[in-house]
Amino acid sequence: MIASTGSAVRERTRDTFDDNRDAIFRRFKNVPYSPDTGVSADELQGMADAYLLEHADQPRILQKASIFRLVLTRGRIDIDPLDWFAEKIDHGDVLRKLTHGARGDQDFGPGLWLEEAAAGALKRGTDWFDQARDHGVTTGPRSGLDLGHISPGWDKLLARGLTGLLDDTAQARASLGDDITEDQAAFYNALEIVYGAAIDFASRLSVLAEKTAEVYADHAVNLLEIGSALSNVPANRPRTFHEALQFMWIMHELIEMEGENVRSMGQFDRTLYPFYRADIEAGRITEDHARELIKYFWHKWYCGTEGAANGKNFVFGGQAANGSENVNELTYLALDAYEELDTPDPKLSVRYLPDSPDRLYRRVADLIRKGHNSFVLMNDPPAVEALVKRGKTPEDARMYLPIGCYEPAVEGKEVACTMNVTVSLAKPIELALNDGLDARTGARLGPATGDAAGFTSYDEFHAAYITQLDYVLNNSHDNIAQAEREWPRINPAPFISGAIDDCIASGTDISAGGAHYNSVGFVGAGLANAADSLYAIKKTVFDEGRFTMAEIVEATRGDFAGREDMRLYLRNRVPKWGNHAAGVDEVAKGVADHFCSTVHSFTNGRGGGCQAALFTLVAAMSFGALSGATPDGRKAGESLAPGVGASYGLDTGGVTGLINSVTKLDFTETPNGSVLDVSLHPTAVAGEDGLHAFVSLIKTFFAQGGYAIQFNVLDADTLRDAQRHPEQYASLQVRVTGWSVYFTTLTRKEQDLYIARIAHAG
């Protein structure tokens, strides 16, 4: 421990994070709420139900705000005496049950107001999305309404505190004067209710922390620190690094309780640096203690997900609004903490600029090759330019945060619903081959584009494909726009709205389009399968005359039964996307261009634009399972290609060929993000030579205009052994298009696919 420089360095408790991590995890999962602290979750539910009955005519935003206050002022609370941060409230998901229902990791049913809309105003669209999902055409949130990708303006929140937002509210209300509408008045009233409640809640926790400190004298240091922090935040600007972390954590929990999913925890090294630096300079903190605090802080995210579900993103590097790079000593301190923590959550992203320090490249590459697979590496120039092209100012675009995996949104100014819909780019191939019918069930999923067996040119097939794809895009767009217009009645969210410009100024909730930028995300999945299939038809039917259209139609319909020779020709003898082969790369680029420009022609239901992305996440598997055989030689039910890269095992041109192909795409046209998954054999990146090559590979990908890249550095033998002895590999992390997860938590099928891909990389 570094000696005090005058003012008090807080004496640390003897125990370390590592001593406490397991106990904290257990208590997080099973919180021993004391009845002395408030009413039970069941009682809260009863009180909420009664409130709604009594106030049936109130605007929903006020109903929600009032129940929010009820929960925070009356619910049971708890503080773990071992912890350095507090947040626990036994809210019973009262608000989520009311609005749009469960998060991915919870099992209560759909929310009341969402289901009311799905069965009423949004019935047609909901039915369409349900059918599309069941047939592998699209996937996404219920009714096409993405309420789940959001980040508050962390800088602004920390600078102003909730009392600052209350001041802003009063001022905005005053400046509207008599012109204020009923909706605006309700919104301002709601803000006052929720921020007042959050400040009260923090005070309750602060008092509990001090009481707990009396009982647990051994842990008085951390408990008193929590008590002191919560007497100040989130009401006011944090006075210390610890208070800033406590502020962010409690906001995360309350925003999620209100009903949104926080998907970015901000730009860690820019937002938190002033607090860290001030503490160091004043001698209030040591580097060691800061690292411990970061571990306690990040452990919360692991406790929430256990490395098995959607994670939360913290981003490093990148640039400030004026273009200066964010990297500082906190960047590296946090990366050290992450290495010591050794868990797959939270998810870290690193934004790179052309002149980023070599140390940043090497440190992150070294972590990745040591098995910390959670990292997404992003290339700022195309990411920023893509946002500028869609109407953001350069200053705003530089302040993007990866929301979730790779989808950028401007911090504090944008509600980018990045995953309203994920569209299979491969399914329209099946529909074009079958006159708009699903090959497996015969259901009509698209327009009749004619009997493909009779097509006499590649252009004719290509046109049918585009018609099928456009049909999906147009329907998705119409139905999403419709759903967004219902959003204010489904999930108004005043608590987060106040932390996003220009909601307070305009008196408008985010659900009603109050954000400065409003966008909707369309994600295209399975680019490789679409491009490889189109090219296979072009080459084998119309260029070579090797097969007829009738044969292709019949063979794919029959899942290549009796035509294994044909399937192998299509799979192994026709050039594939991801190998730097001109013909098929051109086709892929055409599909991507069409998808992106069509999406960008749409306006969404909040008046903003629609933004295209190219990646898959788990949709590669789910779409594949519901899709018939395709002319790229893929059999029915097999996974689609992951991310924006080649089909499994077909990037035979090696990683450089893969990068050369993928960077032919114009990533300034994927404002909603994209990612290339790369598997590398451990020997390829071992030693100093390997690290140098690894870093050079990343730099080349960026220099060629690639968007984001993520890696798995594993050999197949290790994974096979992990299948046989899962107990010995509980901590083995792998990255599956977006999520770093524990290998042993994957299904057997996913594991097998994974191994096939890794074996190929070797």
Binding site: E564, D565, L568, Y569, R571, N572, R573, H580, G653, G654, V655, T656, G657, N660, H681, P682, T683, A684, V685, A686, G687, D689, G690, H692, A693, S696, L697, K699, T700, A703, Q704, D715
Partner: protein, 320 residues
């Protein structure tokens, strides 16, 4: 098979761009075959026949056909296509009678399963350059380039020289991975176009060398000495095969030899492994891989130490 001599087209600078050679593989993102990210081009043919060879397809100069029955779907397309009857079905069994094969490659052309694969394609200098140029940006970023390997790449002397010269003229860094069993004039011819040599030192005991590789080592060591006087950087590579070439005496002799030479950038130790067995099977070649375990880390470190005491820089195999 020597480089063919059909009508020669010359580039502006006089390189015979349509001169053909026999290439059996490309390895992209090669990171341990010289500095940076490289593309290693493997040329067929080798004057040695090392028992431990992990590229058995590299030894013969002519093309060869790999046959991997486990991939065969018994579609019999090859049987129809084969002009000599080498691809056949006898007693309900798919067989490849290599003895009567005339290497037409017709079977490979129709085999979509990957069961049949041609090792050794005739490619022109320009075709190879097209392939290696694709990764120029990776070379530039990493300080990498192109490595010629084999077999012994300089056995196809004219082709290799033209290739190296073409790379050199385009500013691509070049490495030649050689066994050294060559006429000095062959090495001398590529010197102006070779940025660095990777030089294999298999065994300092000459008789033992002959037993395991088919030739004595005098010429190899003589060429190494001579090459070290030219100023070109040389990385020496030693495959460590326990019980074959790793006695204290053999290592001591190697250390003494190398310590006296100039321009040795370092000695890279490679750990012998037996993972090439399936290739021998697929070529119907007798598997000559010594039945010994790969050298352990402790032993490799000890060998490294022994060489380092001679003032040599040693690179141990990278542990993944």
């Amino acid at each position: 098979m020597p480089a063919s001599r059909s009508p020669v087209t010359e580039s502006a600078t006089g390189i015979a761009v349509n001169l053909k050679g026999r290439v059996f593989d490309f390895k992209r993102f090669a990171v341990h075959d010289g500095p940076g990210i490289r593309t290693t081009v493997f040329l067929k043919g080798c004057p040695l026949s090392c028992a431990w060879c992990h590229n058995p397809e590299a030894i013969a100069r002519g093309s060869q056909i790999f046959y991997r029955p486990e991939r065969c779907i018994e579609c019999l397309a090859c049987v129809d296509a084969c002009p000599t009857g080498a691809q056949a079905v006898i007693d309900d069994k798919r067989i490849f009678a290599r003895g009567i094969c005339d290497l037409s490659g017709d079977c490979v052309d129709v085999c979509n399963s990957g069961a049949l694969e041609m090792s050794g394609r005739s490619m022109s200098v320009e075709e190879v350059m097209d392939a290696v140029r694709q990764d120029n940006s990776f070379y530039g970023q990493s300080g990498g380039g192109v490595t010629l390997s084999g077999g012994e790449p300089l056995l196809q002397a004219e082709f290799a020289t033209a290739l190296l010269r073409a790379c050199h003229e385009e500013g691509i860094h070049t490495c030649v991975d050689t066994c050294g069993q060559l006429q000095w004039s062959t090495l001398e011819a590529v010197l102006p176009f070779t940025s660095m040599f990777l030089y294999d030192l298999k065994d300092t005991a000459s008789e033992n060398h002959r037993t395991n590789t088919g030739v004595l080592n005098e010429r190899i060591i003589g060429n190494l000495k001579r090459l070290s006087e030219t100023g070109v950087p040389i990385e020496v590579r030693m495959v460590i095969i326990p019980g074959v070439n790793d006695s204290d005496q053999q290592i001591e002799d190697a250390g003494r030899l190398l310590a006296d030479l100039d321009n040795i950038t370092g000695v890279r130790l490679l750990a012998y492994h037996r993972m090439a067995g399936s290739k021998y099977d697929a070529l119907d070649m007798e598997n000559t891989l010594p039945d010994v375990e790969p050298p352990g880390e402790v032993r490799l470190i000890a060998i490294g130490k022994q060489l380092e005491t001679r003032g040599l820089t040693v690179y141990l195999p990278d542990r993944a």
